[in-house]
Amino acid sequence: MNLSFSLLADQFLLNFSYLWLIVIATTIGIIIGAMPGFGSANTIIMLLPFTLAVDVDVAMIFMVSLFVASHMGGGITSILLNIPGNGGSAATCLDGYPMAKKGLGQQALVLSFVASTVGGMVTALMSIFLLPYIARLAYYMHSVEMVVILLFGITLIASVASDNMLKGLIAGFLGLLIGAIGADHIYSTPRGTFGFIELYDGVPLIAVLIGVFAISEALIMMEQSSVLSETGMQMMKQSGWKETWEGVVMSFQRTWHMIWTGIIGLIIGIVPGAGASIAAFVAYQQSRLYSKTPEKYGTGIPEGVIAPESANNGCASGDLIPLLVIGVPGGTTAAVMLIVMTYHGVQLGPRLFIQNPGLGYGVFITMLVAYAVMLFTTLPLTRWVSKLVMIPTPVLAPIIIAFTLVGAFAPRAYMFDLWLTLLFGAIGYVCRKTGFNVVALLIGVILGPMLEANVMRALRISGNDPWVFFSSPVGNILWAALAISLAIPSIVQWRRNRATRIAAA
């Protein structure tokens, strides 16, 4: 692959000459990323006439900037309102929202933006210099390996349910059941759809996200006058530039954390069909696993914001690698980008880096520039954006319900989805009131169908031989890592108990 510093320098210059476009695209991306129901793929589809009318370099700069910005924007509402803009930012709610409730929303936003930037930039840089090797990872990630990776994410159900294991596991199981609704992955036979055609493609994730998070959160908000505690309100009133700086310092004190969770996102993003949701949940699970204070996860700690945000932005680089290197899109947005590039006559796959290396590597240069632009434009805004939580809930809650219902309707234009969203809103409300963990439910809904698809596919390839799950060296390494990750918390707990007993004796 023809990589040279002059080529990279040229691409940097090209991107800087379109800085205005990057600013526009990233602004659009952040806004749509923060709005549940609106995604980068839909937006690029809507703006397709523009991308087809301009040069392919310009189209790519626009699309890539919008794409990465949507990953960054998703965290904003997760942190401030407990409403994920997309599946990739759902895990950010776990610690982001508790931080906001404590009056640390500004710091949490800064953590999210810096982690997104560092995760995105590190993985973009890795992609530039290690592309041939990183691309090879796709050759080792098949259905069997995906099953184990998804199990990493699903074990998070047990972690988030640790307050009340039984209720947490019931919520997770309910999520898995909901995720199993829809046509089966081999024969397309509908299951659990009750005859509703709207459910044949599975329960729409947006309806679940908006229902169990936004609607139920808005209902809870209505029961109190403010999102913030008394202390939190005082802190927010007094917050200024100092808090932004604190957030930056907190972020860079965890630089290594941002890097390795970003790399998790990159690796998961490379697998076609995997995505930011898995990346964020797996990174959160791994971050918690190797923490010295795992019990603090979920209470509002910086690492709990950094891990999912860095990972879902790392995933953005990973998503584009199969598209560029083997000509196969890794996700929906990449598929739409494929339309544009094919229209412009760009030959994707290995030939891209021989025939048009500037375009191939330019994608990652655009990412670097877009992240830098976003960091400079978003960091100053955190001071004001974070004040959103100071709006009295009697005003905020109806606005949330109205906006998110529009988001629930927008992707498929079904009235059915509105009713479904309200149903999930009611389920979410009951879950919160009765102590069933809605995040556990969501993990089941998001990861369950992917796990099922990969299990069924692996079994079909092997002729229904269950030993297929232990037939690949990479898969077996992942199994060992999964076993270790499940055992470590018990070992740590045993050692702590032992130390306490010895100390008491």
């Binding site: 098949h142 259905s143 829809g182 081999i186 055609i197 196969v328 094919t342 030939r351 079909r460």
Partner: protein, 337 residues
């Protein structure tokens, strides 16, 4: 051009119009004169960015010039296209402004093998097709299989795995028919989309991929085409001269090509014959426009594949695929009966 709709349907439509009386007929006629007065709504029964989406956008770009209307798109993937067709039939107005852009082969196999809530041709009618895309089997560029003969020989010793976007697909039937004719063993692995199916073959999760030719042409050296399910290979230079299956193995497998086509509600054919005529006439005009060649090739469809088909040929093709699907039903569905 020849548009051959079911004569009974036309008569029923004409009778219904006559029964409604001249007072209703006048506004309808006026509306038809100005057709189209608003944007056309295109429903695509697969996801954004797929082969049909790309082909539809390329085609409609030119069609808009002749039809005098722009196109708005919506996507309803799921259950091998069943979701899109059911939404189209039950939730879209039968006013000829709503059209479905699909692929006759896979979607008629789906119709024949899944429990659907609509009927063909009572509920929708294909009014024209725009290309003929042959089914193929290919393996990864570094695969040990050099010819289709190698794959068949290996398939006699062990079960060959082939990825496919979905089981109800002409290429799946092609592979199953090949297995039946040669005695090889084959297992089709559906990946729920062309992209993941191609990726699985390139990365070696499966032995090869059974799919439509045009979607795999962009893979370059990563794919080695072994055979084409048609009487001739129309793009030998793009497919490492892969032989037609019958020529290579002496089999008698029928051509298994997909035809991307537009469909409208049969009720619209009955109620708005003049609108349908305008749609059909302008649809055909696109093929003579030199600009279409440019945009079609940009969208990844070789010009050799572009081929106009009228309503009659679409109906014939649909009927053939239903018959083929019936023949291979036990292998394409969960029911073994």
């Amino acid at each position: 051009m020849t548009i051959t709709f079911d004569r009974r349907q036309i008569l029923v439509g004409a009778g219904a119009l006559a029964a409604l009386g001249p007072s209703l007929a006048l506004p309808r006629a006026q509306a038809a004169d100005g057709f189209p007065t608003k944007n056309m709504q295109v429903l695509i029964p697969t996801g954004e960015g797929g082969g049909v989406d790309q082909a539809a956008r390329a085609f409609n770009r030119i069609w808009a010039k002749y039809l005098g209307a722009n196109f708005e798109y919506s996507y309803f993937p799921g259950a091998s296209g069943q979701v899109g067709y059911e939404v189209f039939v039950s939730k879209r107005e039968p006013d000829a402004y709503n059209i479905l852009f699909g692929n006759i082969g896979p979607e008629m196999i789906m119709y024949a093998t899944q429990k659907v809530k609509y009927k063909y041709p009572e509920d929708f009618t294909y009014i024209g097709s725009m290309d003929v895309d042959d089914s193929v089997i290919w393996v990864a560029g570094n695969s040990k299989f050099k010819t289709i003969g190698d794959l068949v020989e290996e398939g006699k010793k062990r079960e060959i795995t082939l990825s496919t976007s979905r089981l109800p697909h002409p290429s799946t039937i092609g592979a199953l028919a090949l297995a039946e004719a040669t005695g090889m063993k084959v297992r089709m692995i559906p990946y729920g989309g062309g992209g993941p199916a191609r990726s699985a073959a390139i990365t070696g999760e499966v032995d090869g991929c059974a799919t439509f030719l045009s979607s795999s042409l962009g893979l370059g050296d990563q794919a080695r085409f072994l055979t084409v399910f048609n009487e001739t290979n129309r793009t030998p230079e793009l497919t490492n001269n892969a032989p037609p299956v019958n020529q290579a193995l002496g089999t008698k497998i029928p051509p298994l090509s997909g035809q991307r086509a537009i469909a409208i509600h049969t009720k619209a054919v009955e109620a708005y014959p003049d609108r349908v005529k305008k749609l059909s006439d302008t649809f055909q005009q696109v093929f003579a426009d030199p600009e279409y060649k440019t945009v079609a090739e940009k969208a990844g469809t070789p010009w050799e594949f572009i081929q106009y088909g009228d309503a009659a040929s679409c109906q014939e093709s649909a009927k053939e695929f239903v018959e083929l699907a019936e023949r291979f039903r036990p292998l394409l569905t969960a029911s073994k009966g």
